[in-house]
Every structure is written in C-alpha cells, then in structure tokens.
C-alpha cells in the first residue's frame, strides 16, 4: 500500500509533535483516545488570532470585536454542518464534553425529573457520563438504571428494553466506548427510546474523530463532544441539543451574554444559543476549533476510517499472538482502541517501561471504573490509534512490548 504510506508521511508532517523524541526514542503516540495531537494549522490559527485580531466578542461595536464575533460564529456554523444540525443555534459551546453533560444533567433534570423517576446509563460509560447523573439524581431523587454489557463489551439490548419503562426520563450513553473502542448501536437505542418519547443524550467524545456523525439522521436529542479529542485546542466542547429541548430547559450558568435584560427583580434570558453561553467564552479556542474540523474534512473520513481499520486489525492480530495477552472488548463494531492486559504483569509496569522507549499509551481505569469492575480487572493498558499512526509504529510497539514482558516476567 505505498499510496497510503506516502500520504501518511505527508500527514505526519502536519503534526509538529510527531517528529519529537522521548528518552532518545522517537515518540510513538498511542494515546489518542485521551487526546489527539494538533496539526500546525490549528496552532497557527491560535497564534495568528492572538497576534492580529484578538479582542472580546459579541458586545463590541469596534472592528476587532466584530471580526472576533464573525470568526466565533463561523465556527458554530462549521460545527453545525460537521454534525448535520438543523440550526446553528442548536450548537452550544462549552468547556468540554464533561461540561456539556453536566449542563444537560442539571438543566434537563431540573425541568423534567422528579422523585422516583429513572435515568438510564450503561456500564460502558466514562465517569463524565456517570457522575453528573449521580449528582442530579441525588438532588432530584431519581434512580439510575444501568444497562450491563456482554463479555465482548457490547450492550445487553434486551436488558435495555426491559429498563425502558415509562418512569424513564432520559437515556444517556456513549457512542463509542473510550476503554474498549466498542461502537454502540445508538441509532437503534434512540429509536427504541423515542418510541416511548424518551430523549437520548449521546456522549460522542470518542466518536467524532473516527467517522462522520449526523445528529439529524441519528435523531439524537443531545450530542456532546470535546475539541481536544478532535485535533482542536483544549478548553472547548460542544453541546448539540434539539431546539425544542434547549428552549425548554433552564440555563445552567448565569452571567454576561446569556441574558436579555437584567433587573434585580427579574432577569430575562437570551435566545439560543447564548442562553447557555454565560461569560467570556474560550474565543481563541473556538475559532481554532474550526481549523481542526476543516483539517479533518480535508483528510476525509473515508481515508481516516480505512487507515484506522488497517491499524486496528493489524495491531489486534499482532497482539493476539503474544502469550498471556488478553484484549478487552471484542465486539464486531470497534474503533481503533485496544485495551489489554498481560497475565501476571501489572499494566503500570508495562506502561512505565514502554514510556522509557517512547511509547505513549495509557494505563489504569481510563475513567471507567464501573466498566473495569464489570470486566473483573483492576487496570488495563490502552493503545488508541489515530490516522497519523503507522504500521511501522505498531511493529516497533509489539517488539518493545515483548521486550518489556521478558524483563518483567
């Protein structure tokens, strides 16, 4: 596949960090599920904006403020088209997926959830899609119901169906599991929920970098993701919400920009999306996020998926050949994430030694403690690939891993 490889070399040059060395070894960055690296164009957009056009936005008549507002709103429009939202004002900027989910957990529950109501989540969830619901459930007296997984990491849809009673007020689950890479049948889950008029929040943190998402086609009621996992800057996230829900639920934070008029007696809130964007937003971050999405669009999801599938399959086969190695999450639909352990060796030891040789991967619970409890494992190693990773990196990884196992065994 010389074509693909040449292309990858060119792509890797767009990411300055990929040519760095760690402990004298070339960096092999396999921690993409935690956060992705940034192409030069994103970094440059940030710098250029601060150098040439920075100011606060929205409220200023002056030139810089208007440029900034236009750029900021252009980012919103870009995201609208990226996820196929009907309206730009259904795109709310937050500081990340975590804040987006907290916003919905607090505001939706305040409006719709009463004592004894149910909230459905799954065993696969990231802490950011568990704890906000626990906090809201505690406050409003709701009960959290959990959809368990099968041994291969896929969801027990039968149990889901049986949990879907008319006590349920909202269903919240991830699109792709950050720990196992398993892709959930969210369209089916949304359909089933909508048959009972129950809205669904999708935690798309892991999904948006791997394939195109169409929130209207999915008919998702809320869809959340973070810029930093999509080649964009830190401190930016998106809450997509259907207009009818965003209009219905109360604001989450109060402050500048989210109001129409403020009186001590009575304050009226602003229209969407501003109602949910209190205070000075992460202006530069939001503006640079647009460059990240444009970069991804240029690469194209067709290429991205082909490359990631290649890496996933190649790595899976190679790792399965290692004695004592267990891969967690073997469902058919998988993104390029591999969680594994090696018998008798603590993942922390492997991670530490691999780090010495330049391999950045994650060890631990990956913010999914209940999932690891369900799998009956204390901690795993997780290698997660992006389109800029290569077969050669995987080869070197497998060699290094074997060496570490020998040292530790």
């Amino acid at each position: 596949m010389p074509d693909l490889l040449t292309h990858i070399d060119a792509i890797r040059e767009d990411f300055p960090i990929l040519s760095k060395t760690i402990n004298k070894y070339p960096l092999v960055y396999f921690d993409n599920a935690a956060s992705t690296q940034k192409p030069k164009v994103v970094i440059d957009t940030l710098s250029e904006y601060y150098k040439n056009s920075y100011s606060n936005i929205h409220r200023g008549v002056h030139h810089l403020s208007q440029i900034g507002t236009d750029l900021y709103e252009a980012s919103r429009k870009k995201i609208q088209s990226f996820i196929g939202a009907k309206h730009a004002h259904e795109v709310v900027f937050t500081s990340g997926t975590t804040e987006a989910i907290n916003l919905v957990a607090q505001s939706f529950c305040k409006k719709y959830v009463q004592k004894g109501d149910h909230i459905i989540i799954t065993e696969l969830e990231h802490h950011s899609n568990i704890v906000p619901w626990q906090m809201a459930a505690e406050h409003y007296g709701a009960i959290i119901k959990v959809v368990p997984i099968k041994p291969d990491g896929s969801l027990h849809l039968d149990v889901f169906k049986s949990l879907l009673t008319n006590k349920v007020k909202i269903v919240a689950l991830n699109h792709i599991s950050n720990t196992l890479g398993v892709v959930n049948p969210i369209k089916e889950i949304i359909d089933l929920s909508h048959q009972k008029n129950i809205p669904v929040l999708i935690d798309g943190a892991q999904a948006v970098a791997h394939g195109s998402v169409d929130v209207q086609d999915l008919d998702a009621d809320f869809y959340c993701f973070s810029a930093h996992k999509l080649f964009g800057p830190t401190g930016v996230g998106v809450l997509y919400g259907k207009e009818k829900y965003l209009n219905a639920i109360p604001p989450y934070k109060g402050g500048g920009d989210m109001i129409k008029t403020v009186k001590f007696e009575q304050t009226t809130y602003n229209d969407l999306p501003f109602k949910f964007e209190a205070g000075t937003p992460n202006i530069a971050g939001v503006i640079a996020f647009k460059s990240a999405i444009e970069y991804v669009e240029n690469i194209g999801f067709a290429f991205i998926q082909k490359q990631e599938d290649l890496l996933l399959n190649y790595a899976t086969t190679a790792l399965e050949n290692i004695e004592g190695l267990t891969i967690y999450g073997t469902a058919k639909q998988k993104a390029s994430v591999i969680s594994f352990t090696v018998k008798g060796i603590h993942p922390y030891d492997l991670g530490t030694l691999l780090d010495q040789q330049g391999f950045a991967l994650r060890t631990g619970k990956h913010c999914t403690e209940p999932l690891l409890d369900a799998l009956g494992v204390d901690s795993t190693l997780r290698a997660s690939f992006s389109f800029y990773n290569t077969i050669d990196e995987i080869d070197r990884f497998v060699t290094a891993l074997n060496k570490c196992i020998t040292i530790l065994a």
Partner: protein
C-alpha cells in the same frame, strides 16, 4: 431592472462620491437627521427590533397592497441606516420586499463595516422588515 434595484443603484452612485469612510458616515448621519422618525408616544416597546445595540423601533402597516413602514432610532447612524433601508423597501408590495436582493449593502461597503453580529442589528432590521411583509403575502 425592477424598482427596488433602481433605487439601490441610485444609492450606490451617491456613495461613490465619497472616497473616505468618514464622509460616508457623515452622509448616513445626515440621512438620519433628515429622516422623519416617530413620535415619542409611538415608540412602543413591542416595536423594538431585537439585537441592536441602539434602540430601533419599526412599525409596519398594510394598505391597498402596499407595506408602509415607520421607523426610528435613538442613535443617528442607526437611524440613517434605517432610512437607507426604507428608501429601498418602503411603499412596496410584500412580494417585492421579500424578493428584494439588497445588493447595495455590499456595494456601498456597509456589509464589511456593519457585519452581521449582534452589536448593530442591520440583519435584525432586514429580517423584521421581511417578516412583517411576509404576514401580508
């Protein structure tokens, strides 16, 4: 060329006389000063156009197939812009207003200087004029 297009061409050629933006603004300000506006008691809150930093009141009425607009603003530049807009769109049939392509905004450079963001409300005024017209299609 239809009628609204003709008026726009006229406005464009007037603006071509100025090479300096201050002159263009002086001209807009003069338009504002000359514009009739509304009586204070006519300036009802429900007539306010949202999204403008200055206050803009816009009142419409429909008579014999024609839309009739009255407007005012507490800021002179805004008032001048309303005056320009109404030069083109006042006393027209609803269909004509809805179909009007307001190319003069770009041509005289208003668009670059009064971008679509919330602080000036140019877009909001146009939308209000068009949505008022739409009710009488």
């Amino acid at each position: 060329m239809n009628f609204t297009a003709a008026i726009q061409e006229e406005i464009i050629s007037e603006f071509e006389l100025f090479d300096d933006w201050m002159d263009k603004y002086s001209y807009i300000i003069d338009l504002g000063k000359e514009f009739g506006g509304m009586l204070d008691r006519e300036k009802k809150d429900h007539l306010l156009v949202k999204g403008c930093q200055s206050k803009v009141w816009l009142k419409s009425d429909f008579n014999a197939g024609i839309m009739n607009f009255k407007a005012d603003s507490d800021a002179m530049i805004t008032k001048g812009i309303v005056a320009l807009l109404l030069k083109v769109l006042n006393q027209k049939a609803p269909r004509e207003i809805l179909d009007a392509d307001l190319f003069f905004i770009e041509k005289i450079g208003l668009k670059a200087h009064l971008s679509m963001n919330r602080s000036n409300g140019l877009m909001a005024m146009i939308q209000r004029i068009k949505s008022d017209a739409e009710k009488h299609l």
